[in-house]
């Protein structure tokens, strides 16, 4: 039996799982509920100017990249295994597709962060 390549994806899955367990709920609460409804937080919390300034900071860029990338790897890894759980055959093709989507999202995020500039 050859060694599984799973450790690579499991580490990314674990990183995303931990990060989303810590800050997933609060992120969704802020961007998806509080800000759209104008609840609790200042009105300009997610204004274009503030978000642009945020996305131009190098540390914030790193944070955005890590959040989107790890969430995607976590989600794709789990969904791939869920397909197997539901009896769908998931071979190499499915693996390439799912982790490919997560990789693509990571590259897109990195690209956009560069486009936004410093």
């Amino acid at each position: 039996m050859k060694p599984s390549s799973e450790p690579i994806f499991w580490m990314l899955f674990g990183g995303g799982g931990m990060l989303s367990a810590l800050i997933g709920p609060v992120l969704i609460l802020v961007t998806g509920i509080l800000v759209p409804f104008g609840l609790l937080l200042p009105q300009d919390t997610m204004s274009y100017d503030r978000m642009l300034a945020f996305a131009q900071h190098p540390l914030a860029k790193l944070a955005v990249l890590v959040v989107i990338s790890l969430f995607m790897f976590h989600g794709c890894h789990r969904t791939l295994h869920s397909l197997h759980d539901l009896g769908v055959h998931t071979g190499t093709g499915a693996k390439v597709a799912f982790y490919g989507v997560a990789t693509l999202a990571t590259l897109l995020t990195a690209g956009l962060l560069l486009v936004i500039g410093f």
């Binding site: 039996m1 050859k2 060694p3 599984s4 799973e6 450790p7 690579i8 499991w10 580490m11 295994h81 197997h84 759980d85 009896g87």
Partner: protein, 254 residues
Amino acid sequence: MPIDTTTRTIEIECLRYDPQTDTEPHFSSYQVPFSDDMSVLEGLQYIKDQLDGSLTFRWSCRMAICGSCGQEVNGVPVLSCHTFLRDYFPHKLRIEPLNNFPIIRDLVIDQNDFLDKLESVKPYLVTKLEKPLAAGPHLQTPQQLNRYYAYSQCINCLLCYAACPQYGLNSDFTGPAALALLHRYNADSRDQGWQVRAEVINADAGVWGCTLVGYCSEVCPKAVDPAHAINQNKVNSAMDFFGVLKLMNKGGTE
């Protein structure tokens, strides 16, 4: 709690399968008189002795140590000697053979696949050099004993395999009990077999076949906690994959 010795009657539905006449199983229902001190196994024995001698099931010790009498009772894997009819009354019991194994007849499953897996994890002390008798015993501190003691309590009853959907979905998966026993020996201070067991542990069908459903540990009658044995070894297997174990000089060579 005082034992209620009055006799009541409970309905037991048993899965029946005769390989010579049946293409698929069916259920037969029996009315079984019972008292508070009767186990599910004793209920099955009543059926075999008094109602239908053809009912086939495994049992031996009647005291939750031999691991022979595992059954699904109402969809939950249990040792039938360790489960009491009174806890189901007034509802009926539906008894089936353990999930995820081929049914040979009635409640009897084919365990061969597990035996192969048990053998594959080398469930014995592996040492580089045989220690001569004159060198005295292998001393262990209580802490060293604690590291593997819980995992050594496994009685191979296969309830954890019946509880594991990953084994059901893909029987290549080495599975809970065998991987827990693998860890039991790896965690033993007298053992130097990490490398010879690495092939099993690091494979897709090794610890990576587990998605931490966790039900194996729930149903284990001996509190072995296979889910813990497997999942802490995902960390070890990942460290092995990235070469960290070698750096830490763990597990010796070859």
